[in-house]
């Protein structure tokens, strides 16, 4: 049983890793090109426009070891990255990799936690609606999921903060602080996670997609046969009707969740990668921007790799076909 899926999964994995490497290269070139074409210069930000002559900027470049020509600059960056050296932030002088790991951990907690929240809310609604069809309970639940998904996440964040502070008298922001929060630790971790989980717009899509797929699968002949034999229908429907749609939708939504995290981090004072990206963009701090772009690309790719992995594991024959993605 196990041996049946190892080979196909390995084959797919190998192919995907190769694609990923090319993809990362492409991402880095594109991001670098955009940075190069945008007006402004990180060294100008550094000197606050105080270096009157080009000589000043040249001195700065020299001491930072940054070549002047853009292609040399890119190659220097690429060479460093291949050796695991992402360079140092122009703004803070701190190593980019360390900073990404530090803030990335917080962002990971936020995004994975919020995914969990999304699934905890969406899956029961979708399954209930798929099994029981349209009725007095499933309709308002589904509607509610749609409405909540449509709320802008920054607004939802402020609203939740306002309610917690004024109704419960708790100051719920503690992340990044050594003290001063009057609420229990769980409150300030949970709030942003819940807000992002509910407000990132993924909720309604999970409900819709999962419900459609589950309904379709439940109507399939093999499930009906299973039912007829008296076997539990969910065991037969699980892989195709649940596992595949859920992994598909989650993988395709990772970029949006990351985008939402930038806003939630801002609202909840959460010291994550999104805030760092925002700051770096303002400063044209290219080593940081490049590092975050690569990290985000890795993150997104990992999500779709896991999805492919699950897909192929469920359906080994798919490894020989091209990526057969169903439209979400």
């Amino acid at each position: 049983m196990t041996a049946r899926w190892i080979r196909p999964v390995a084959r797919v994995l190998l192919r995907e890793v190769a694609v990923t490497a090319l993809l990362l290269l492409g991402v880095s070139v594109v991001v670098f090109a955009i940075l190069g074409l945008a007006p402004g210069d990180p060294f100008g930000v550094l000197l606050e426009g105080q270096a009157s002559a080009d000589a000043g900027a040249a001195g700065v470049r020299e001491s930072l070891g940054v070549p002047t020509a853009w292609h040399a600059q890119y190659l220097a960056w690429l060479g460093g990255m291949l050796k695991g050296n992402f360079g140092a932030s122009i703004r803070t002088g701190l190593p980019v990799l360390g900073e990404i790991v530090r803030t990335g951990k917080n962002t990971l907690v936020l995004t994975l936690g919020s995914l969990l929240v999304t699934l905890l809310v969406a899956v029961p609604i979708a399954l209930y609606a798929a099994i029981r069809g349209t009725n007095r309970i499933s309709v308002p639940l589904t509607m509610a999921a749609y409405v909540v998904s449509a709320l802008p996440v920054f607004w939802l964040g402020y609203l939740v903060l306002y309610v917690v502070m004024h109704a419960f008298g708790i100051f719920p922001l503690g992340a990044g602080f050594s003290g001063g929060s009057s609420g229990p630790a769980a409150v300030y971790v949970l709030l942003p996670v819940v807000v992002l989980g509910v407000g990132n717009g993924t909720l309604s899509e999970v409900v819709r997609h999962l419900r459609e797929e589950m309904e379709r699968v439940l109507a399939e002949d093999y499930v009906r046969t299973a039912r007829a034999k008296g076997a539990p229908a969910w065991r037969h429907a699980f892989k195709e009707g649940f596992l595949l749609p859920v992994t598909e939708i989650v993988a395709s939504k990772i970029p949006f969740i990351l985008g939402g995290a930038v806003i939630v981090e801002q609202v909840f004072n959460w010291p994550g990668m999104g805030r760092m990206a925002w700051q770096a963009a303002q400063d044209r701090d290219f080593p940081v921007i490049m590092g975050i772009a690569v990290a985000a690309a890795v993150f997104v790719r990992t999500g779709s790799l896991i999805q492919r992995f699950v897909y192929v594991a469920v359906n080994p024959g798919a490894s020989r076909e091209g990526p057969a993605r169903r439209a979400a």
Binding site: E48, Q50, G93, L173, F177, G180, P271
Partner: protein, 533 residues
């Protein structure tokens, strides 16, 4: 020709008395202890005074470091690390005699080292090294060299005598044993993240998320500060920072957004303290443009603007309309000169007097030349209010028949257009002063040139001689009179349309007492603050 500066030996009798006092506890009867946490706008990039260029860092370095001289609450120059100084008759040599009782903050497991002349020379050298990353270099290019005379005497030689040079020696001194690289300082040097100084507070810890804890320096040469610890907590959002104050998660906000003033004002636990901003905003005109060289045109522009209305609607009225070139917080500001009123009819009359007539499209013209101008505005991080101001400017001027083409420019490109190429008609900008009485670089004709501050190309012999005279006189009352005159002249000339100074407000819990605030360094006098027990 420049007259030689008749400035000679100045000895501060008071300073000698002050330095005789032992370092240690203060004897002012105020209690020691307590802590103050304040909200800060984001994480500072670096914490040393050389490489940093943000307000966030500037506030921290004010607590950790000292300059040779300082500026007191009355904006007068007072001794700090230097106990006295001598200035040569030709104004080219500045000799500073240093205090002997100053020590650097000790590093862990290290004895505190004494502060000496070597540190001063080192600071100057590292600051001026071409490879050092600092915005300060341009400010100190007037110095030819710094030399150690003996362990406690330093001599600076200037390239040329400059007006008010003493105020420039407020730069913060860093220890020779501080940076890992003794030749030049970059942001990758560990020192910039964990600096040591001579100041009232020393850096205790910095978390990865940017929370900075400072603790009282028991060996501070002016006496140990009263408050035990000062903590800077970073916030991403101003609204949240205000809420943090309301929930006692922090005790102080250094600069309250006008929008949140009413909420704090209504709460008896907090003090809202206005402090002077040594800054003002203005529309500046390019005198190289023949249309703008006529002062009646510039006056017309000022009459056409309803500045009070703009201040009220865009900044909640939190500020003062100004009439002249000094910040209103300065002693040099002339209160007798009233700002020009809003009078569009008068504006049109002035334009007609200057030879303009209304064209068929409603735009004023003279000799077939339309009064159509470009307004260049730098894009800033917080530019919402700025956008409203420049659009209001455009609309007000449209009403008197002037066509304004607003162009937003990226900061660096804007600086090049304005200070290097002089390619603009009108700009909107804000000056921030460290010496509020010194406007020589803005309007003196000697300051016209690439990257110099008289970007407007303003040239007026009367103004030049008033500035020169004011610089050369030692008599404070006479200087005041001269500056008031200067103010009146420039108010009439309108090289800029002077707009307003915004009022800054700090908010803090009333347990913090005797709070005096420096306009932008903020913590300059924090060693005298205390927390009520």
């Amino acid at each position: 020709m420049k007259r030689a500066a008749a400035v000679c030996l100045i000895v501060f009798g008071l300073a000698v008395v002050a330095s005789a006092a032992e370092a240690g506890r203060r004897t002012d009867g105020r209690p020691d202890g307590g802590s103050v946490a304040y909200g800060e706008y984001g994480r500072p990039a670096t914490l040393d005074p050389v490489t940093s260029n943000e307000m966030v860092s500037l506030r921290i370095t004010e607590l950790v470091f000292n300059g040779l001289v300082g500026i007191d609450e009355k904006q007068e120059i007072v001794p700090e690390l230097a106990e006295r100084w001598e200035i040569s008759k030709d104004g080219l040599t500045y000799v500073f005699v240093l205090r002997k009782d100053v020590t650097w903050h000790p590093r862990p497991n290290e004895a505190a080292k004494a502060f000496t002349a070597d540190d001063v020379v080192f600071t100057y050298d590292i600051m001026m090294n071409p490879k050092t990353i600092t915005p300060l270099k341009v400010r100190y290019e007037f110095i030819a060299k710094a030399e150690k005379v003996d362990d406690y005497t330093v001599r600076f030689t200037l390239k040329r005598p400059i007006l008010n040079a003493l105020a420039k020696f407020t730069f913060k001194v860093i220890p020779k044993h501080g940076p890992a690289n003794p030749a030049y300082l970059t942001r990758e040097d560990p020192f910039v993240h964990r600096p040591i100084g001579t100041g009232p507070y020393r850096l205790k810890s910095v978390t990865g998320d940017g929370e900075i804890t400072l603790e009282a320096n028991d060996a501070y040469f002016k006496g140990r500060p009263h408050i035990d610890t000062i903590v800077a907590k970073p916030f991403a959002d101003q609204n949240i920072m205000t809420q943090a104050l309301m929930f006692n998660a922090i005790d102080m906000i250094v600069l309250v957004n006008p929008r949140y003033l009413p909420e704090i004002q209504g709460d008896k636990r907090f003090v809202l303290q206005p402090y002077n901003a040594l800054s003002y905003s203005f529309f500046g005109y390019n005198m190289r443009n023949a249309l703008l060289a006529d002062k009646r045109v510039r006056q017309a522009f000022t009459y056409a603007l309803n500045r009070q209305e703009m201040l009220d609607s865009f900044f909640g009225g939190q500020g003062t309309i100004i009439s002249g070139p000094f910040a209103p917080g300065s002693w040099a500001y002339n209160l007798d000169v009233a700002p020009l009123p809003f009078d569009p009819r008068k504006a049109i009359d002035l334009l007609k007097e200057a030879g303009f007539s209304q064209g068929p499209d409603g735009i004023m013209q003279k000799g077939g030349k339309k009064l159509s101008l470009s307004l260049k505005v730098p894009i800033e991080k917080e530019s919402e209010a700025v956008k409203r101001v420049v659009l209001a400017f455009k609309n007000y001027l449209k009403n008197v028949g002037v066509d304004i083409d607003v162009q937003f420019k990226e900061w660096q490109a804007w600086k090049e257009d304005v200070f290097l190429e002089n390619d603009f008609d009108v700009i909107f900008a804000t000056w921030v002063f460290d010496d509020s009485a010194d406007i020589s670089s803005l309007f003196h004709s000697a300051e016209i040139g690439p990257w110099r501050n008289n970007f407007a190309g303003y040239r007026n012999p009367d103004v030049d001689s008033l500035i020169n005279e004011s610089k050369l006189t030692l008599d404070f009352e006479k200087r005041r009179t001269l500056n008031r005159k200067l103010h009146a002249v420039l108010a009439e000339e309108n090289p800029y349309t002077f707009l307003w100074t915004l009022t800054n407000y700090a908010a803090y819990h009333k347990k913090v007492r005797r709070v005096a605030i420096h306009p932008y360094k903020f913590f300059s006098y924090a060693d005298e603050w205390f927390v009520e027990r």
